[in-house]
């Protein structure tokens, strides 16, 4: 059944058609120019044709991003809103719909996630619509010590918020299908109690007014299945993360508005900081296990794209609404943490190749899958492009062209190289990469409050220039990382599900060295090869060579918190959220500091539950609240009980088993030897 409005769909295809036309036209023109440059006076050989094919594959994405960013810039300049997405009537009417705010957690820092949840809860209450929202901590935590800490933190939070605070805690016994399974489990248990759910990550923060605005948008658009509020990256201190935050804040809006421009009601889901119509999601977004083994088979890792595609297939619209504001997340603190996350995302996106051909999907959804895949596959394509370019240059040096043919001729066959054309092509590619950034800077400079809270004109320009140099130097190492991830995934290697590092910690030199030694050696090799072929070629490749050769110090220095703090003191790479922290962030920090100052108690979760009557009672309440049955009388349970009785060390799995076992939980006090 079609729930989407037909109002915007004609315009959406018009916009997409215009973008496609501009993309193909500029790629065609650039390819023709490169073909002329490569052909010279001797025509195109096999290597040159291969190079052209790779160029087309890479340039298409650059051109598309460029034109989408231009569209985004215009949309932001004229402050255009999405046609087809009805704005709710103004006013503070009492919300009649019910929304569950769900935070999926997995072995996280307990104080941090509960501080975030409390800050969001209070912010919603302050917005005057607390009655319309319930809050769920959905734990997939496997560490039994953290599990018990979460239960006690949940109870402490309920006590702090006062009687009637609707904050609930549920821990899943088996974390099947990871985060998507966690959300699906919530929906099966309680989904029908709510009209909407807002999905949060462990590092998500959202202002209450934003959550209310999202619920109102859903109320005003009964055909909307999902509204995504693009999160702003905040709260980090390392140089790497602060530069990412700065780039996201300066250039991000242009790209987000560009995406919203062409996606319209067939948008995408970013996995968190989005409001979802529960009925639509439950009907259409149950994810099957893909046949075969991981990384391409098994549970769907990057579930968000697939869920958005299924919602659209089910007739619901999916909107990206950049102007919502009040939506925040954190970025990985260091380059290596970033690369680790990229590995997981790479695997997830490549797995989408199994899904993008599914029956009945909207072409725009298929394009989202392709975009995700290309965001990783483009790295090995660029690598091949560079490798092939170097090969062609080497071949031409090793086997110089004969100036005089076999037949006697008066004039030599001078090799023709159209330097002016090559230069104009280079300038075009550079322009496509730089202009969206410049437009982002321009928008910030035109917005007085944002400009002032980002350090002022001079610092924004200086910061942008440094960030440009930094990201240019970073790009070759990222290209190699991503090429490796693509190759590993294609060869069947999988990456596990780890907890993301959310602390500002530096990378030790040996770790940086180990991670980048290959990059450095490749940089030295490419540099020497280019020098041997032609010093001019070396100059052309110098940013790439420098990025690779300097990969170790770049990774190490950028991971340092003191550099980030030093630059922050000098108001460099400043974002408005650092100048004046959003209320929800300020409150989350206050609560976190308060929680950290409190005594921690017994760290061993099982011991605590068995020795502390209050912890025991809270644990049993958490089990009873979600009606968790006792485990079967298995051999594993028997062994775990015996080990506990004999004071033998228990594995985390055994501890978790005992934490479900009524016999153990009722047999207090704990045996002295345990």
């Amino acid at each position: 059944m079609e729930h989407r409005s037909s109002v915007y769909r004609g315009q959406a295809w018009l916009r997409r058609g215009a973008l496609a036309l501009l993309t193909f036209a500029t790629t065609g023109w650039a390819t023709a120019q490169l073909s002329t440059v490569l052909a010279g006076n001797h025509g195109l050989g096999t290597l040159e044709i291969l190079l052209l094919a790779l160029f087309v594959g890479c340039f298409l994405w650059i051109a598309f991003s460029f034109w989408a960013a231009i569209a985004g810039f215009v949309m932001l300049l004229v402050k255009a809103r999405q046609p087809g997405l009805h704005q709710p009537p103004p006013g503070d009417a009492r919300l009649a719909s019910r929304t569950a705010v769900v935070m999926a957690i997995y072995n996280e820092d307990t104080n941090r996630v509960f501080a975030n949840m409390q800050a969001i809860y209070e912010s919603v209450a302050a917005a005057g619509q607390g009655h319309a929202f319930d809050f769920y901590m959905l734990s997939d935590t496997t560490n039994p010590d953290i599990w018990v800490a979460e239960e006690l933190a949940w109870h402490a939070l309920s006590a702090r918020l006062g009687p009637g605070a609707r904050v609930f805690y549920r821990r899943r016994r088996y974390n099947t299908a990871k985060k998507s399974g966690n959300i699906a489990d919530f929906l099966k248990r309680w989904g029908r109690h709510y009209d909407y759910m807002v999905v949060l990550d462990a590092d998500s923060l959202m202002e209450g007014r934003t959550l209310v605005a999202m619920a109102r948008l859903m109320d005003a658009n009964p055909g909307a299945g999902l509204v995504q509020a693009p999160p702003v990256c905040i709260n980090r201190n390392t140089l790497f993360a602060r530069m990412l935050q700065f780039a996201g804040r300066i250039y991000g809006p242009v790209f987000a508005a560009g995406q919203a421009f062409w996606q319209m009601g067939e948008g995408n889901y970013w996995g968190h900081n989005a409001i979802i119509r529960t009925r639509a999601f439950m009907e259409h977004c149950g994810l099957p296990e893909l046949p075969g083994k991981p990384p391409f088979g098994g549970h769907i890792m990057s579930h968000d794209f697939v869920e958005a595609a299924l919602l659209v297939r089910g007739g619901w619209s999916v909107w990206l609404v950049p102007e919502l504001g009040g939506s925040y997340e954190e970025v990985p603190p260091t380059l290596l943490d970033y690369a680790k996350r990229d590995h997981r995302w790479c695997q997830g996106n490549l797995q989408h190749s199994r899904v993008m051909g599914a029956r009945g999907l909207n072409p725009v959804s298929r394009f989202h899958f392709l975009t995700g895949i290309m965001s990783y596959v483009s790295s090995p394509l660029w690598l091949l492009f560079l490798g092939l370019g170097l090969t062609i240059a080497s071949v031409n040096t090793l086997f110089p062209r004969a100036y005089f043919g076999v037949q006697k001729q008066l004039f030599p066959d001078w090799p023709i190289f159209d330097a002016a054309l090559a230069k104009s092509l280079f300038m075009l590619a550079l322009g496509f990469l730089l202009i969206p950034r410049l437009l982002g800077v321009l928008l910030v400079l035109l917005d007085r409050p944002v400009r002032q809270s980002s350090g002022g004109t001079a610092r924004i320009l200086f910061g942008s220039a440094i960030e440009l140099v930094y990201s240019t130097l970073l790009a070759p190492a990222m290209m190699l990382f991503q090429s490796k991830f693509v190759a590993k995934t294609l060869m069947g290697s999988t990456i596990g599900w780890g907890t993301q590092n959310r602390d500002d910690g530096g990378i030790p030199w040996p770790v940086a060295f180990k991670a980048h030694i290959g990059h450095m050696l490749l940089g030295v090799f490419v540099g020497l090869l280019a020098l041997a072929i032609d010093p001019n070629l070396f100059l052309w490749l110098s940013p790439l060579v420098a990025g690779l050769v300097l990969a170790v110090p770049i990774a190490q220095f950028s991971s340092r918190r003191d550099f980030g703090a030093w630059l922050r003191k000098r108001r460099l790479f400043l974002i408005p959220e650092e100048t004046a922290a959003p209320p929800v962030l300020t409150r989350a920090r206050e609560i976190f500091a308060d929680l950290e100052a409190r005594p921690r108690g017994e760290p061993d979760g099982l011991r605590r539950v068995l020795s502390d009557p209050f912890a025991n009672a809270v644990h049993k309440l958490a089990l009873a609240a979600t009606e968790e049955p006792a485990p079967d009388e298995t051999a594993e349970l028997f062994v775990a009980r015996r080990k506990l009785a004999n004071g033998q060390p228990l594995s985390p799995v055994e501890k978790a088993l005992l934490l479900y076992d009524r016999t153990t939980l009722d047999a207090r006090p704990i045996p002295a030897a345990a």
Partner: protein, 115 residues
């Protein structure tokens, strides 16, 4: 203690652990204004609220009494954490992600003839 044993004997004559839990659950459900069908959850929640309110120390003879003082009821309800709504156990059918079938141009295999 004797009084508690007497009350338990009246509420759960068998003395079995399950029966005692059920009786205590009913008592807490009544005290906390919950339906008797939620006795198990009420017992778990009531136990937490009881400990939070330090009711054992403040009102030592109240547990399982027929007429608990109003102050106990109020203190327990104040310390009661909210419990999630009832479980629904709804299905969430797995979406069909079969690829689109490409038209088959291959000739149909010949069926082997058997005598």
């Amino acid at each position: 203690m004797k009084e508690l044993v007497r009350r338990l004997g009246r509420l759960a004559p068998s003395g079995a652990a399950g029966d005692i839990d059920a009786a205590a659950g009913r008592w807490f459900a009544d005290l906390l204004g919950r339906p008797e069908s939620e006795a198990a959850r009420a017992l778990a929640a009531g136990r937490v609220a009881w400990l939070m309110a330090q009711a054992g120390r403040r009102w030592p003879l109240t547990l399982l009494s027929d007429t608990p003082p109003l102050a106990v009821t109020e203190a327990l309800r104040r310390g009661l954490p909210a419990l999630p709504p009832p479980l629904l156990g709804d299905p969430m059918p797995a979406a069909e992600l079969e690829r689109r079938r490409l038209p088959s141009f291959a000739a149909r295999p010949l069926r082997a003839r058997t005598a």
